[in-house]
């Protein structure tokens, strides 16, 4: 897969590693922030204790997740400069302002109100506290808006000019840069992905506790809410993904060819390759199982529409097919599995057995981490599919890198890997431990000064509670 571990390849691996690890946390915390806002809003509206209990249950998990998102995010804001200095210098005038807007309009908002959200329950009034929760949730959205605008501009650059010194500089309209062609699709697709990711985590935790005690009202409530989300959002997401794919076909045809595994052009209807082993040496997909004409139908809405393949793209401009082909299939596969669970839950509601169908609960439990796998696979699809460019068609990855020595990049990569697995492994373990505790009446929130054994999960030690993690941690790759 890698010809050689030169500085460029190492820098790419480092970026991929740090961004993948980072994105795991916002993928969960964007959706969770919204869920917390909904819970607190429902509590304010109805006054029902169950909503406050669930709010306090999930806010502890949110606090740990958010902290990990923050620290891994700071790393990202310096990754551009350490390993990708040429890219920073050249693209800075265009993407820098967008990222500055992200800090100004999102990060400060989230961080500024987070303290009140976590620790201010008894310091400010109910409405003001709800405002803080809302601000954190809105902040996560604004953050997604700007950073996805940056990424989309790198994929489908518009609205810029190229200056004499080789820099990309803004043209007449910032609007064209921010709202570049792939941005609306990517933004919607990503936000839905975070909602689904969160829904399946919440649903999985609810399912786990229902398997242990199907009478637990708190577990029922969270499971039900999560399954509504899954049933509603999964089909919307598949539809949005399809539109996003058509947009990609229009602007980045080579990426779609790699996703589809189309090494060859098909003048009269291209097949959909379900599975196979892309063979980049021979430029063909081995052992493939395909459905004739279906790819043309999906992409062109016509069975016999011609589709170009990678044979029309110069070798030097091709993305690596194997990774893109596989990551795309993993993402789509999980998307349909999520749809399946959503429909199953609707059927269970119809049968009135939503809380009384262990097989459904087991399936939901298995699917709990699936959102993370899907979002990482999706990012691999779109980012590796952008290769060999950082700014699509205009700036090559090989020309974006800092003047680096491979040993330095390798050393820092090793340091990141060791620290990340250790720190975020511990964090994931703590989250699992919180999730393994059953949600209950009179749930305690994040209290910053409770010390001693009480503090372990904010739950007073009751009669011999089993303290085993909910499920074994699975790495999200």
């Amino acid at each position: 897969m890698f010809e050689q571990f030169d500085a460029v390849m190492l820098a790419r691996i480092q970026f991929a590693f740090t961004i993948s690890f980072h994105f795991i946390f916002p993928a969960f915390s964007i959706g969770l922030a919204s869920y917390l806002a909904v819970l607190e809003g429902l509590w304010l509206k109805t006054g029902k204790q169950i909503y406050m209990d669930l709010f306090k249950y999930w806010i502890k998990i949110f606090a740990v997740t958010f902290a990990m998102g923050v620290v891994s995010g700071i790393v990202m804001s310096y990754q551009f400069g350490t390993n990708w200095a040429v890219f920073s210098d050249k693209a800075g005038p265009v993407i820098g302002p967008l990222m500055a807007y992200e800090v100004l309009t999102a990060f400060f908002l989230e961080a500024g109100f987070l303290g009140v959200m976590l620790f201010g329950m008894n310091k400010v009034g109910k409405k003001l506290h709800f405002t803080a929760t809302l601000m954190v949730a809105i902040g996560t959205f604004i953050s997604a808006f700007w950073i996805l605008s940056v990424n989309s501009w790198m994929q489908t650059p518009t609205g810029h000019e190229i200056a004499a010194n080789g820099q990309f500089v803004p043209g007449d309209s910032w609007w064209d840069i921010v709202f570049n062609p792939s941005f609306p699709y990517r933004l919607f697709h990503t936000l839905m992905a975070t909602y689904l990711t969160t829904a399946f985590v919440v649903g999985g935790v609810g399912a786990w506790h229902l398997l242990k005690d199907k009478t637990n009202l708190h577990a029922r409530k969270m499971f039900s809410m999560a399954m509504w989300m899954a049933a509603l959002v999964a089909p919307v997401q598949i539809f949005a993904g399809d539109l996003h794919g058509l947009n990609t076909l229009e602007h980045q045809p080579a990426k779609v060819m790699a996703m589809e595994g189309h090494y060859d052009s098909y003048p009269d209807g291209a097949p959909l390759i379900l599975f196979g082993i892309p063979n980049s040496e021979e430029k063909r997909v081995d052992y493939k199982i395909e459905i004739p004409k279906l790819s043309s139908l999906i992409l062109k809405h016509d069975l016999n529409a011609p589709l170009d393949g990678l044979d029309t793209i110069p070798d030097a401009d091709e993305p690596p097919v194997g990774m893109v082909f596989w990551s795309f299939r993993i993402m789509v596969g999980i998307g349909f599995a999520m749809l399946g669970i959503g429909l199953w839950s609707l059927f269970a509601r119809y049968r009135k057995t939503l809380y009384d169908w262990p097989l459904l609960h087991k399936a939901a439990l298995v699917m709990a981490p699936s959102g993370f796998v899907a979002v990482i696979a999706g990012w691999i699809t779109t980012e590796v599919g952008r290769q060999p460019y950082t700014v699509y068609g205009l700036l090559r990855t090989a020309d974006s890198v800092s003047p680096l020595a491979a040993p330095a990049v390798a050393a820092s990569l090793v340091a990141f890997i060791i620290v990340y697995f250790f720190v975020f492994g511990a964090g994931t373990w703590y989250i699992m431990r919180l999730m393994s505790k059953a949600p209950k009446i009179g749930e305690k929130g994040v209290k910053s000064t409770e010390t001693g054994p009480v503090r372990t999960a904010g739950i007073a030690p009751g009669p011999a509670q089993k303290d085993s993690p909910a499920f074994e941690p699975r790495p999200a790759e």
């Binding site: 700071i74 350490t82 040429v86 820098g96 100004l104 961080a111 340091a415 990340y420 511990a426």
Partner: protein, 331 residues
Amino acid sequence: MDLTVIWAFIIAFAVFAYVVMDGFDLGIGIIFPAFEVGDARDQAMNSIAPVWDGNETWLVLGGGGLLAAFPLAYAIILPATYPLIIIMLLGLVFRGVAFEFRWRDPDHRAFWDFAFTAGSFAAAFSQGMILGALLQGVEVADRAYAGSWFDWFTPYTLLTGMGTVAGYALLGATWLIWKTEHGAQDMAYRLAKPAAVVTLALMAAVSLYTPFLDSQYWTRWFEMPNILFAAQVPLLVLILTYFLFRGLHKKQEAAPFLISLGLFFLGMAGLGISMFPYIVPDQITIWDAAVPESSQIFMLVGVAITVPLILVYTGWAYWVFRGKVGTEGYH
């Protein structure tokens, strides 16, 4: 006053805001081992738990703002101080998660407390060294860093690193004087004096060392009419030093912290006088590194609207958690 100068001030403001706000967070981490396990440590942690994340965000604005307003400087300084940046980031990772993890895992609290201290120390030391590395100059050729991997490692940068650690410790100690009571506050008073002495000694050492680094600083500081401005800085430092020790002696609570902020401000002002108009000393001026005007204006609109708002709601968050942390914590 052109836009580039305005942007230089905005970046300087972000860096200053970061240094003082996260400075006391990191400082608490640095002096943390001196505090007794239990109540004193919990008070120290709780005094910053609700605000540290907002404080750290100024670092993202500093880095992100540098990329946005002076991408060439960002593209030179980061590779030039590559290992320091990585150490700083990893230090901040440990420091940041320690806030949450120490509560989640009482069995390993001692370890996360250690991670909190080690991470804070590493971040503070590397930040000071990055500053020193920049002041002593970096090699540039063809819009890129052209030096070697360890140019940043010199006696001078060790001095600036230690100075930053001591300065942060002073901020941390004086913050705790303000926010805590009983044993924790007594310990903070005891730590503040040596921290102040060491900080001032290292500030003086760095100030004496700097003009010999490079003729430019000499000219900037000691020739007319610059000396008229430059001379004010040490004078004001002396005045503040007097009030700082007087405040510590009289057991004042808020004054020592505010005076320490003043000392940091003077240090930054001295730095600004030394560097202006260069962003990479002797190599790249702020105008060389600046983005086109359209980028500057686009961002300036955002800054003009958001920064006042940020200051308001950040101020409000501090206001919500005003007063002593208390042994009972936030109720």
